[in-house]
């Protein structure tokens, strides 16, 4: 068994056995079930606040409140929570071991620091993938089971787009793929911060602060902020939504994916650079 595979296996064991890993799954399940219950009970009223302008002119025919819409709303709602849950585990990956002292044992084994960091990073991505998988099952399949399938009415600030039910599954696959890439950037950013800090809390708080500040900059319709927006990775984390436009702006999506991949590689490169030079003094 190669050393890297052994190191990776160790990181998977730790991820799976660590109690905090399950907090994220619990929170996702809770949020999904809560949103599904809320929409099951008061979905039409909740939607009417969003579709008020349409309702005043048109009679909307068909099942708007379906599993696809619920999944869209859940994904949209979790834009803040999912990075927190990812950072909660990946932000702790190195700093937690530094704080608890286990990093000393880890770094006095034959595996190089790059191997250890990459193993931890991949374990973080695996955890992120598992979170998204659970989210996908709960938000999409359970919602479809409860609310039925149907056309998706996707909202954006330029209006709304109706995506036909028979044209939606490939969009969901793409959306979850982009969401995974986005969350991988968060995981990598958290891993970078985890390399720089010696306690678990600061990287998690810093990730959240970054995402909240960048998201607020993105939300305000202030043209001068537009200069900043393309450089903020949070701007592109929402690129999955573009798959629910018609026509699909492929060039925009590819650009966003490119920016995300650039951020991911930059964060990973910096993490390797700093971790290789980090002195374990405590």
């Amino acid at each position: 068994m190669s050393l890297f595979v052994a190191t990776l296996q160790n990181e998977f064991v730790k991820t799976i056995r660590r109690p905090r890993s399950y907090i994220g799954f619990g929170i996702i399940t809770f949020i999904c079930l809560m949103l599904q219950a809320a929409f099951y009970q008061d979905g039409k009223e909740i939607l009417s606040t969003v579709t008020a302008q349409i309702d005043s002119i048109f009679s909307v025919q068909g099942n708007i409140l379906n599993g696809n819409l619920i999944c869209f709303i859940v994904l949209q709602t979790l834009i803040v929570q999912m990075p927190l849950l990812v950072a909660f585990v990946t932000g702790d990956t190195l700093s937690g071991e530094t704080a608890s002292g286990t990093i000393r044992f880890l770094l006095t084994r034959p595996a190089s620091r790059i191997q250890i960091l990459l193993a931890k990073w991949l374990a973080g991505l695996f955890y992120t993938l598992m979170l998204l998988l659970v989210l996908g099952i709960l938000a999409l399949f359970v919602s479809r089971w409860i609310f039925g399938s149907g056309d998706l009415m996707s909202l954006n600030s330029e209006g709304l787009t109706i995506i036909r039910a028979d044209d939606i599954n490939w969009r969901w696959m793409g959306a979850f793929g982009i969401a995974f890439l986005s969350l991988s950037v968060v995981a990598t950013y958290a891993t970078l911060l985890s390399c720089l800090m010696d306690n678990s809390i600061t990287p998690i708080v810093t990730v959240m602060a970054t995402i909240i500040v960048f998201t607020i900059i993105g939300l305000f319709d202030i043209p001068s902020f537009d200069v900043l927006k393309p450089y903020l990775f949070t701007t592109h984390m929402i690129a999955w939504r573009s798959l629910f436009e018609d026509p699909v702006p492929y060039s925009d999506i590819l650009f966003s994916c490119g920016v995300l991949v650039f951020h991911l590689l930059a964060f990973l490169g910096l993490a390797i650079y700093f971790f290789n030079r980090k002195d374990i003094s405590n």
């Binding site: 006095t108 030079r277 003094s281």
Partner: protein, 301 residues
């Protein structure tokens, strides 16, 4: 014989602070080497540099004749260590922790091997317990087990007695001696307690403020002919006047209610007799070899 450890002018600085200052020493294979110094003297920083946890600012470290920088992986296969205190994944059992370390050392292991190792460090029957239920002493024992799991040639122990009860200290001492005598392991053993080093080690180094104070064979360092004598006189003024007029003046280092002399061990009785004949009463007399005296001094400040 190739040196197990050789440090060549190794320094570590943090900004303006120098933690280790041009430190050089050699640990021969088969030695139990004492690494002595008061708290904050740079012991842990040095051990961390040897274990590649901290990068030296200057100098070079060789292990088994190879540069640590260039042959880290091969070198680490041959080293087991406990740095500072043993920390474990507290949500895993003792066996699972050892399985992790074994896997990280590229070992194929069996549960029976782990059980045998746990028995060796006195943790038989506790393998399935999660580490969070362990006392500090038990963690220390488990730390030893993880340090030994890959049958290393060199074992580095940073203050391993910390937190152990008296029986644990005796057990550890016996284990170290056994590993050295029966299995030929080289052991680098750090401590701030001279007697521990004196009991176990064959060679030693004393460092302070990151610099070498003294190094050599323990027997030679601790059995030097010159000792420090402390004398408490009943009438200090008369006694000092007598000493200053006599040949003993050459050995006098400090004078007061307690006088201190640096003198050959064989002449202590002559000094006592001379004072008695001069009618100067001695309240108390005590002597230590100079290393003990020096170590006492630096650890008291």
């Amino acid at each position: 014989m190739t040196a197990a450890i050789h440090l060549n002018n190794v320094s570590k600085t943090y900004g303006n602070f120098t933690a280790v200052d041009h430190l050089s020493f050699t640990v021969r294979q088969g030695d139990i080497y004492g690494f002595l110094g008061p708290n904050g003297s740079g012991k842990s920083t040095t051990l961390r540099m040897i274990m590649s946890l901290i990068q030296p600012s200057a100098g070079e470290i060789f292990l088994f004749g190879h540069s640590l920088k260039e042959n880290r992986k091969a070198i680490m296969q041959k080293i087991g260590c406990i740095i500072e205190k043993p920390d474990f994944y507290t949500y895993l059992s003792a066996t699972e922790n050892l399985q992790l370390f074994a896997r990280a050392s590229e070992l194929s292991f069996r549960k029976a091997d782990i059980d045998r190792l746990l028995e060796q460090v006195g943790l038989q029957g506790r393998g399935n317990d999660t580490v969070k239920t362990f006392s500090h002493g038990m963690k220390q024992r488990l730390g030893l087990a993880q340090a030994l799991i890959h049958d290393p040639e060199l074992i580095i122990l940073d203050e391993p007695n910390t937190g152990l009860d008296p029986q644990g200290i005796i057990d550890l001492r016996n284990l170290i001696l056994n590993l050295n005598k029966q299995h030929g392991k080289t052991i680098l053993f750090s401590s701030h307690i001279l007697s521990e080093v004196q009991t176990l080690c064959t060679s030693m180094i004393v460092i302070h403020h990151g610099k070498t104070i003294v190094q050599g064979k323990v027997d030679e360092l601790l059995s030097t002919e010159t000792v420090t004598v402390r004398l408490e006189l009943a009438q200090p003024e008369n006694g000092i006047a007598f000493i200053q007029q006599s040949a003993w003046h050459a050995y006098l280092q400090e004078q007061g209610s307690e006088c201190r002399f640096a003198m050959p061990k064989t002449e202590i009785s002559l000094l006592v007799r001379a004072l008695s004949e001069a009618g100067i009463a001695i309240n108390r007399i005590d002597y230590k070899n100079q290393l003990e005296e020096y170590f006492l001094k630096i650890t008291q400040h």
